[in-house]
Symmetry: C2
Subunit: 649 residues, 2 copies
C-alpha cells in the first residue's frame, strides 16, 4: 500500500477503497478557524451536541483579526465560549494561523484531520490525512459522524535530486500548478515520495501540501520519516512520532516525477494560482508591494531567508514590504539571531500573527499596482482591492522583488548584489510557545458554560425540504474556475458578517455582479446559476452555498465542480446539476426561465432530470454525481434537516 | 521671561505678546500625518506652492495603515508623490507615529513646530513650541505664512519630588486632567518647571506634553536641559541641543504645583479624558482588552515596563493584549534584552507600528466590553465600537490589568505577585533607524514630479463668499464638550474617505445623529447647529468643519469653542457665533428656523449679530471672538478664497 491507502484504510468506517465510490472516514482531529468556525459552532448548537467526540478539536482565531468594529471581537468571544462549551482547545486571537499552529502543537503522523478551511491539507506535510471541507461536515465529524468523500485516485509524485540555490519548496508546488492548473488535481490525493524528500523539511512539505488544494486535490500526503521525527523533536513532541511510508514505489494510480535540480524560480500571475510562469519571464515588472506570510509559507525558514537577503539593505523606495508572522511561536523564534531586527531595519512592516491580507483582511494594494505575495491564492479581488494584480511566489522571489522594486529572479541577486544564497538549516532547539492555547475544560465544567452571542451573531436559517417542481430564473452565467471568493467575497467589509447570514447574503456573487442580490430578491420563485468547469473552487467557506440558498437558489447548472464547493451545495440543499450536453451551457442565457418537475422521483431513482427552458421551448438534460446518501440530503432540503430527521427516528 | 515667552518672542512676526490678542508666529518645522495630510497636500496644490518654505517639513503615514481596500494605499502613494513634489521628508507607511518619530529624528529645542494633528504639542517635551492645528493653517505655514493664534496665558506647573513606584508620567498628566478637565487649559500654554523635572526623561515629558491638548491648552512647554541633551545624544543628534530655561519661577500668569510623591495611579473613565479617578476607585471591574501604544505613551520605557511586569507570566484568559509599537526604531530597540519575546510569550498581540486603535483603525473592543488603553483619548465611538467603554491609563495600570483580567491598581502587584517595581533606566546607546525616512529631492528634481491621485482622491470643493443674509434650519442641538470624533467620526469605515470630501460628508455628526446627512440635504437653504461649551474639542481634523460646510452649514451657535475646532470653522467660512445670553441656548430647539441679516456690515464693524427665530418670534444676540483678519476670511467664504484674493492683489 502507499501511505495514502494506509491512512485511508486505518480510518475507513464505511465503503470500500474503490475509486469514485463514497467512503466514510473516522476523524481524529478537528480544526476550525474563526471565519468559518462561528457557523460550525452554531451548527453544533443546532445539533444539540454535548461535547466533541474528536481526540483533539481546536478552534483557531486567525482570519478576522482587524477588529474594525465590535463584530470580530464579538465573534472571538463567542468562539471562546463555544470552545469551552463543546470541549475544544481554543487558540486565542492572534496566536497564529491554524495550519501552522496545528502542525507545531497538535499534529500527529498517521492521524486524520478535518478542518473548516481548504488549506487544512497542509497537515499532509506531517504525514496526516488532512482534509479541508465545509463547516457542516466538520460539525458532524466533530459530533462523531464519519466524513464522507469520494474515494480518490492516488497520484504519486516522485521527487529526486536537490533544489538549486534560490529555489525552494514554493517553487515545487508552483511547478505542480504549472503542470496541473487549478483543476488538474481533482479526484486525486497527491502523495510525494522519493529520495528528494530527504532534503525537504517538514515546513517545506507543509508548503507543498498546503497548495495542493489549489489544484483541486482532495489532499496531499507526505510520509512520516526521520525528517518528521526531527520536526517533532524540535517541537518537544518526539513521542508523537510514528513512521508512515509507502511500501513500494509502484502503488500509485498515476505517477509523475519532479527532478528538483531542474526547478527554477516560478511565479503565479494574476489572477489564478494556476497561471504559473518562470519568474524570469515577468522580471522587470514594477511592483508596489511584497507580502511575506500565510499558510503557504509559514515556516521560520520562510521569514528567515527574507531577513538574510535583506540584511543591511533597504527595500526599494516605492515598495511596501508587509511581514505577517504565521504563528506566535515562529514570531518569537524569528527574534533570535537578529532576524526580526534585520527585517525592521530593511523597512519591513511587521503585522500581527494571522492570515491578514491572504483573505483581504488588511494590506490591500493600491489601485492599479502590482503585489507579490508568498500566499496561496490570488483570485480576483481576494486581496481587498477589486481590480487587484496579485502574483504568488517564493520567499526568495519576494525578498528579491522587495529589494529591487520590480519583479526579480532571486538568482540575479548573485550578480546584482554579489550575494551568496542564504542556505537554511533548521535549528535543533527553538522556543516553544503554548501560552495562548486554552485546553478544554472538564465535561462537568463545560456543561455550565453559556454561549456569548453579540448582536451580530444570528442563528442559522431554516430551510424547507425539496419541492417536486418549480420554475426559476437564470440569474447569472459564469465562466470556468469561479472561486468561492467570487461567489461570496473575501475582505474586511464582508468577513465580519460570517455569523450573520441575512446580512452576508447581500454580498452573494458581488465580485461578479453587484446587482445580484437585488435581482435575487425580485426572483420570488427562486433562481439557478450557470457555471463552467470547476465551479466553487478555492476556500471552503460554506457561506458560498448557504447564502445563495438563503436568497432562493435551487440548483446550480455547471460543467463540473470543485470538491468542497460541491459538497457544500449538497449540504445546503442546492442541487449541483451537470450538463449532459455541453452545448446547453452555450445556449442558456441570463433571464431564461427554467421549469423543473418530478424532481423527487427522478433524483431518488437515480435518473437524469430534464429541465425545460420556457421561452426557448427547449429541453436540457441534467445529470449529477450524488450518492444515495447525498440524494437523501437534497430531498430533505439540506444536511441539517437530514440529520434532524435521522435523529428523530 | 519664561521658556514659553522666549520661544514666542524669538518667532514673533506680527502682533505683541499681549494675552488675548492675535499674534503671528514664524514656523520652523511642519508635521503632517496621513489622515489630515492628504487634504494639506491638496491645499498646497490648490495654492500653487512650488516648495515648502519650512526648514524641515515631514509627511508621516501612521493613521490609515489597515488598507482594507485600495484607498489607503492610494493615499500613501499620493502623499509620497506630494512630499517629493513639495520638498517634504516622507516617513514611509508604518514607520511610526509622527510625534514619536519627529522627536527621535527631527525635533530641535527652541524651534517652532506646526502640525496637522492635535497631539503635535507632544514636541513640547523636547523644548519646542509645538502646536497642533487644522490642515489649512499648516499648508499656509508650510508656504511661509505666519501661524496666527490668540496670545495665551502661561500656566506654570512646578513639579517637585519624585514619582513613587508604579506611578509614571501618564499619571502626572492624568492628574492635570483631574484638576482641569477637558476645557480648563483653553487659552493657556502650560509650562512645566521645577526640580521634579530632573527625574522625568524626555519621553516622560512627551507623555505629559502630548495630552496637554486634552485640556484644551494651546500647547505645553518643557525646558531643554541636560535630560534633553542626554536624549539627543542617545539619538546621535547631540549637536541639535540648545539650552532653554525660564529665567525664574515668577514669570507665570498662573501657577500651580504637583508634588510627584503624592501621585497615585489614575485612570480616565469612559468617555472623556477628563473623567479622571484613582485606579483604586474602579479596581475589580472586569476588562476584555488592554491596548499599549500611541503618541500618549510612545517611549521604549512605556513598552519595556509592560514587558517587565508580564515577564514569565500569562495574561488573563479572557483578555486581548494589543501591543502597538510607536516607531520602527522603538520596535527595534524593544527586541533587545528579550523584551519583545517576553511580551509575545505572555500573550501580547504585536501590531504594526502606527496609531492603530487610537483612531479606531483596528482592534475595536467587543460590544459591551471594557477596554483599557495607554492612549490619549476615549471620546464616544472613537475606538471603532459605537457603544465603547474605553479607559485611559498608564502602562503600569495597563499591564496589571492585562495580567489580572480586571482593572488593577499596579501597586497591588507587590502583594499579589511579590513583584518589585521594574524601575527603568534609559539606555545610553540605542539602535537608530532612519531607513524609512526619504529626504526631499532637490528643487530641480521635485519640479518634475507628478502627483499620483487614485480614484478616491478628489479635489477641494469651491465655496462662495458670505451672503449678507439667509434663513436656515437648526439641525442639531448638542451638549458640552462635543469632540471632532463626534462631528466627523473616526474608524476604519470613514478614515479612508479623508481625501474625498463628498463621500466623507455623509458621515457628518453620524455618531450623534445618523439622520443628519439626510436632513442636511433637505435643508436646501443651509443649516446651523447649536452646541454647548468647548465645541469641537479633540482631534485637529479640519474635515469636521469642511464637511459640514459642504453640507450647507452657515454657522455654529455655541457657548464656547475649543481652539483648533474654532480656527477650522473660520478657515472654512462657518461663523463661530457665541451666545450673549446663555438662556438662548436653552430656548432653541431642533427644526427652528433662524433668519440672519446685514451680516457683512455687522461683522465688519465688529458689532453683535441679532438673529431672529422665526416661529418663536424671538431675537437672539450673538457675538464672536474673531480678529479683523478672521472677519475678512469669513467674508471671503473661507481662508482659501481669502488667500487667493490676496494673491490676486
Amino acid at each position: 500500500m502507499n501511505a495514502t491507502h494506509k491512512l485511508l484504510h486505518s480510518h475507513l468506517i464505511s465503503g470500500k477503497l474503490e475509486v469514485g465510490t463514497e467512503i466514510g472516514l473516522r476523524i481524529d482531529h478537528i480544526l476550525q478557524q474563526d471565519a468559518t468556525g462561528t457557523l460550525v459552532m452554531l451548527e453544533l448548537e443546532s445539533l444539540g451536541l454535548a461535547r466533541t467526540k474528536a481526540e483533539v478539536a481546536v478552534q483557531y482565531v486567525d482570519h478576522n483579526l482587524l477588529q474594525t468594529d465590535f463584530r470580530n471581537a464579538d465573534d472571538h468571544r463567542f468562539l471562546q465560549s463555544a470552545s469551552a462549551r463543546f470541549g475544544y482547545w481554543f487558540s486565542r486571537s492572534g496566536n497564529g494561523i491554524s495550519h501552522a499552529v496545528h502542525m507545531e502543537r497538535f499534529g500527529i503522523p498517521g492521524k486524520t484531520l478535518l478542518g473548516s478551511d481548504s488549506h487544512t491539507c497542509a497537515g499532509g506535510g506531517l504525514g496526516m490525512l488532512a482534509i479541508g471541507t465545509g463547516g457542516l461536515d466538520v460539525a458532524l465529524a466533530s459530533a462523531g459522524e464519519p466524513y464522507f468523500v469520494k474515494m480518490p485516485k492516488v497520484l504519486g509524485v516522485k521527487l529526486t535530486g536537490l533544489l538549486p540555490d534560490w529555489v525552494s519548496a514554493k517553487d515545487v508546488v508552483l511547478e505542480m500548478l504549472r503542470r496541473h492548473d487549478v483543476k488538474g488535481g481533482r479526484g486525486f490525493i497527491i502523495e510525494y515520495f522519493g529520495e528528494g524528500l530527504k532534503t525537504l523539511s517538514t515546513w517545506d512539505r507543509h508548503v507543498i501540501a498546503n497548495m495542493g488544494t489549489e489544484m483541486g486535490a482532495t489532499t496531499s500526503v507526505f510520509p512520516s520519516d526521520e525528517i518528521t521525527r526531527f520536526f517533532l523533536k524540535q517541537q518537544k513532541r518526539e513521542k508523537d512520532w510514528v513512521e508512515l511510508e509507502a511500501d513500494s514505489e509502484e502503488e500509485y494510480d498515476e505517477l509523475e516525477e519532479i527532478h528538483l535540480n531542474d526547478l527554477i524560480p516560478l511565479i503565479a500571475c494574476p489572477s489564478s494560482p494556476g497561471k504559473v510562469v518562470p519568474v524570469k519571464k515577468v522580471k522587470g515588472t514594477k511592483a508596489a508591494q511584497v507580502v511575506v506570510g500565510s499558510s503557504a509559507n509559514p515556516g521560520l525558514r520562510d521569514f528567515a531567508v527574507v531577513s538574510e537577503i535583506l540584511k543591511n539593505k533597504t527595500i526599494a523606495s516605492q515598495m511596501s514590504l508587509d511581514i505577517n508572522p504565521s504563528s506566535r511561536q515562529t514570531f518569537q523564534n524569528l527574534i533570535e539571531g537578529g532576524r526580526l531586527a534585520a527585517l525592521l531595519q530593511a523597512g519591513g512592516r511587521i503585522h500581527q500573527t494571522g492570515c491578514m491580507g491572504c483573505i483581504g483582511m488588511g494590506q490591500a494594494p493600491a489601485s492599479g499596482s502590482i503585489s507579490l505575495r508568498t500566499m496561496p491564492r490570488n483570485f480576483p479581488g481576494r486581496s481587498g482591492t477589486l481590480d487587484d494584480q496579485v502574483y504568488l511566489c517564493s520567499p526568495e522571489t519576494a525578498a528579491a522583488t522587495a529589494l529591487c522594486g520590480e519583479i526579480t529572479d532571486p538568482r540575479d541577486l548573485e550578480n546584482r548584489y554579489q550575494m551568496i544564497y542564504p542556505k537554511w538549516k533548521e535549528p535543533k532547539e527553538i522556543n516553544i510557545n503554548t501560552q495562548m492555547l486554552l485546553p478544554p475544560p472538564s465535561l462537568e465544567e463545560s456543561q455550565n458554560i453559556q454561549l456569548i452571542k453579540g448582536p451580530n451573531i444570528k442563528g442559522l436559517p431554516e430551510f424547507s425540504a425539496l419541492e417536486d417542481g418549480f420554475e426559476v430564473s437564470v440569474l447569472l452565467k459564469m465562466a470556468d474556475n469561479i472561486s468561492t471568493d467570487e461567489i461570496l467575497k473575501a475582505g474586511s467589509d464582508v468577513l465580519p458578517l460570517r455569523s450573520n447570514v441575512e446580512e452576508l447574503s447581500k454580498f452573494s456573487f458581488y465580485v461578479i455582479d453587484q446587482s445580484f442580490y437585488e435581482r435575487s430578491q425580485a426572483a420570488i420563485q427562486g433562481h439557478v446559476v450557470i457555471a463552467g468547469e470547476n465551479y466553487a473552487q478555492g476556500s471552503s467557506r460554506e457561506h458560498a452555498a448557504l447564502c445563495p440558498r438563503f436568497l432562493g437558489q435551487k440548483a446550480v447548472l455547471a460543467k463540473s465542480y470543485a470538491r468542497i464547493g460541491w459538497q457544500n451545495l449538497i449540504n445546503f440543499g442546492i442541487i449541483p446539476f451537470e450538463f449532459v450536453h455541453p452545448q446547453d451551457y452555450e445556449d442558456l442565457t441570463v433571464n431564461d426561465k427554467i421549469t423543473f418537475k418530478d424532481l423527487k422521483k427522478k433524483l431518488s431513482q437515480g435518473e437524469r432530470v430534464t429541465a425545460h427552458v420556457v421561452k426557448k421551448n427547449k429541453d436540457i438534460e441534467l445529470t449529477n454525481r450524488l450518492s444515495e446518501r447525498q440524494i437523501k440530503i437534497i430531498l430533505a432540503g439540506g444536511l441539517i434537516n437530514y440529520i434532524r430527521s435521522r435523529l428523530k427516528k
